[in-house]
């Protein structure tokens, strides 16, 4: 079962025990309802406790979980209509980023997000959610279009990072990300950025310059992959868990550092345990933000966004 996480272990043991007791009741007719209720409560509170206190490395596992809902899973649930628009009008349509027009609670928005695959074939088509420059240029084209029509922009971030390969370098991966950072900072329309899984470095940030920046409770966002940091520190990519614990990559760490504004709560066990519920919370977050941001003029929105980015960093 791919959805099992090792940190669910103690809970799973308890649940197994409860199941055994229930079988016993059925077989023998002995009344164990008190014990079962007690153990069930204990399991629930234990699970709650575990998920409230996940280690960074455990959150990393959840954020990368093969069943973790993807951008299209959420788009399907938060929009009443979605029209996907393809291509950068320059070189290609990068399937690692999807984007288009959506209606959220009657409001047209432009939605753009990294798209991971659901299975091996899908992942190959999506390049595991790692965009090439044309993906970022598609995103920028759609953002400029949104600005022209005064549509709010919602980005959903979920990528191991921008792809590292010959074509990506040849076609200017650095330039594409840089251009998005600059242009996003001055868009005269609301931008809401939400990290829904893995926020991998510059490749994530290239969709991440928002008036509001939020993360799902168990998502991560980091300057380098924990494997990458582990390689650099210890010449050993396998110590990623240890690296993760040093990196301050959880939503809880990043709200403290002033990098993000809000955390969107996940269902117990992670977003994939109840995709509809997670989606409804994301939708509520977006509509809540839009209510506040829609009162602002374009210049004010750009200025607010600039001031927000401008403050980031720590020094003496």
């Amino acid at each position: 079962m791919t959805s099992r996480n090792e940190f669910d272990g103690p809970v799973l043991q308890l649940e197994e025990k409860i199941k055994e007791l229930k079988t016993l009741v059925e077989e023998t007719g002995v009344d164990l309802s008190g014990e079962i209720e007690m153990l069930s409560k204990k399991a629930a509170s234990m699970k709650d406790d575990i998920y409230k206190h996940l280690q960074p490395s455990q959150k990393l596992k959840l954020a990368r979980h093969p069943e973790r809902p993807t951008t299209l899973d959420y788009i399907e649930r938060i929009t009443s209509e979605f029209i996907e628009l393809h291509g950068d009008k320059l070189y290609a349509d990068d399937r690692a980023i999807v984007g288009g027009l959506g209606i959220i609670d009657g409001t047209p928005v432009t939605i753009i997000g990294h798209q991971k695959g659901k299975d091996t074939k899908d992942n190959i088509m999506r390049n595991f959610g790692m965009p090439h420059p044309e993906g970022y240029r598609k995103a920028l084209r759609l953002m400029k279009q949104a600005e022209k029509f005064k549509r709010p922009i919602v980005t959903l971030i979920n990528t191991p990072g921008a792809f590292c390969g010959l074509g990506a370098e040849e076609r200017g991966q650095g330039e594409a990300i840089a251009r998005n950072l600059l242009e996003m900072s001055r868009l005269r329309t609301p931008v809401i950025a939400i990290v829904i899984g893995e926020g991998g470095s510059g490749g994530a940030l290239a969709l991440g310059v928002g008036n509001r920046i939020a993360m799902l409770e168990h998502s991560v966002y980091s300057v380098i992959s924990p494997e990458g940091l582990s390689s650099i520190l210890w010449k050993d990519a396998s110590k990623a868990s240890e690296a993760a614990s040093m990196m301050k990559l959880t939503a809880q760490d990043l709200i403290g550092l002033g990098i993000i504004d809000d955390i969107i709560e996940e269902p117990l066990g992670g977003a994939h345990k109840d995709v509809d519920l997670t989606a409804s919370r994301i939708k509520a977050y977006i509509t809540g933000c839009l209510e506040k941001l829609s009162a602002m003029r374009g210049e004010e929105l750009a200025e607010e966004r600039y001031e927000k980015i401008r403050k980031m960093g720590k020094w003496m």
């Binding site: 370098e169 991966q173 900072s185 991440g208 966002y221 980015i309 980031m312």
Partner: protein, 313 residues
């Protein structure tokens, strides 16, 4: 005349035969660990110190007097290889004498993530580079033209960008907007500074946003790429110049060559990610040798100065 500069095929040594030259076959050092993420490539070996007065060229292995190399602006008089240059020296050879006024000398880096051994590394870097951080910012004149200038230094933690680098550059750009001056940034960097985690990553957005304001103000930004410029700096301010100039053969990329080789499991083609390659691929406007750089920047600044007037020949 300017056009002569750009048709000149290769830079002549400033000191022909004013130094001893011996060709030696140098042993390749084992791959060194990198300071910064994404900077896994170190394709130009650092100059090898032979004795107090001599070093060997990392490209052609010629033994060069250190003074001769320095007099030649750090360009190998034998093979025209452009060795890495410290920020202070870069300013010295770029700014008109006595014109440089430094900005933000009292801002200090903090270990906000309490990252293990970051304080030690900062101390080492300061000692090695003679700088407080990986960028020096200020204003100066270049061939009589005023500008704001930011110069990175690879001796300070491989020119990685933490909060202070991002903040100093953003402040310098804002100062340029205030004073209506053009901006020149010399980049050299291994990328983001992992010890500052996401605080480091956000400097990419911060510096890019500041340059967006500069653009809105109609002011010129000249980005000069020197060896190596990779990672987060390439994916932010380095690639946002109105005009992007590179030194010959400088390594410029988003991912470092070693990361790419690991990803694609094959050797990279000759010349990949070099300045000449980036010009072919459309991302570098022009390549200018170090000896011509000051003059070139001065011309660009003059062409873009208010009124746009420049004395004809």
């Amino acid at each position: 005349m300017l056009k002569d500069l750009f048709t000149k095929k290769s830079q002549k040594s400033h000191h022909e035969k004013g130094y001893a030259v011996i060709n030696v076959q140098k042993e390749k050092p084992a791959d060194e660990p990198q300071e910064a993420p994404k900077a896994q490539a170190e394709p130009q070996k650092p100059q090898v110190q032979l004795d107090e007065n001599h070093m060997s060229c990392p490209s052609c292995s010629a033994v060069i007097e250190k003074q001769a190399l320095s007099d030649n602006l750090g360009v190998c008089p034998e093979c025209s290889h452009h060795t890495r240059l410290g920020a202070r020296r870069r300013i010295q050879i770029t700014a008109d004498a006595g014109s440089f006024r430094e900005y933000d000398t009292i801002i200090r880096t903090v270990n906000a993530l309490e990252f293990a051994s970051y304080d030690d590394k900062l101390r080492d870097a300061a000692e090695k580079s003679g700088l407080d951080e990986a960028v020096v910012t200020g204003e100066c004149k270049v061939s009589g033209q005023s500008c704001v200038i930011c110069v990175m230094d690879s001796l300070f933690m491989m020119g990685s960008m933490g909060s202070v680098v991002g903040e100093k550059i953003s402040r310098a750009v804002e100062k340029a907007i205030e004073k209506r001056l053009p901006v020149v940034i010399f980049s050299t960097s291994g990328g983001a500074r992992m010890q500052e985690g996401m605080l480091s990553l956000m400097q990419m957005a911060k510096t890019s946003a500041a340059l967006g304001k500069l653009d809105d103000a109609g002011l010129l930004y000249i980005s000069v790429l020197t060896d190596p410029t990779t990672g987060g700096v390439t994916a932010s301010f380095a690639m946002l110049g109105d005009i992007i100039v590179a030194e010959p053969k400088a390594l410029i990329g988003f991912a470092g060559p070693r990361v790419i080789e690991q990803t694609i499991r094959q050797k990279l083609p000759e010349g990949f990610q070099r300045a000449e390659f980036l010009q072919d691929k459309g991302f570098v406007d022009t390549i200018v040798e170090r000896g011509d750089m000051k003059d070139f920047i001065g011309k660009l600044l003059a062409i873009h100065s208010t009124g746009g007037e420049l004395d004809d020949k």
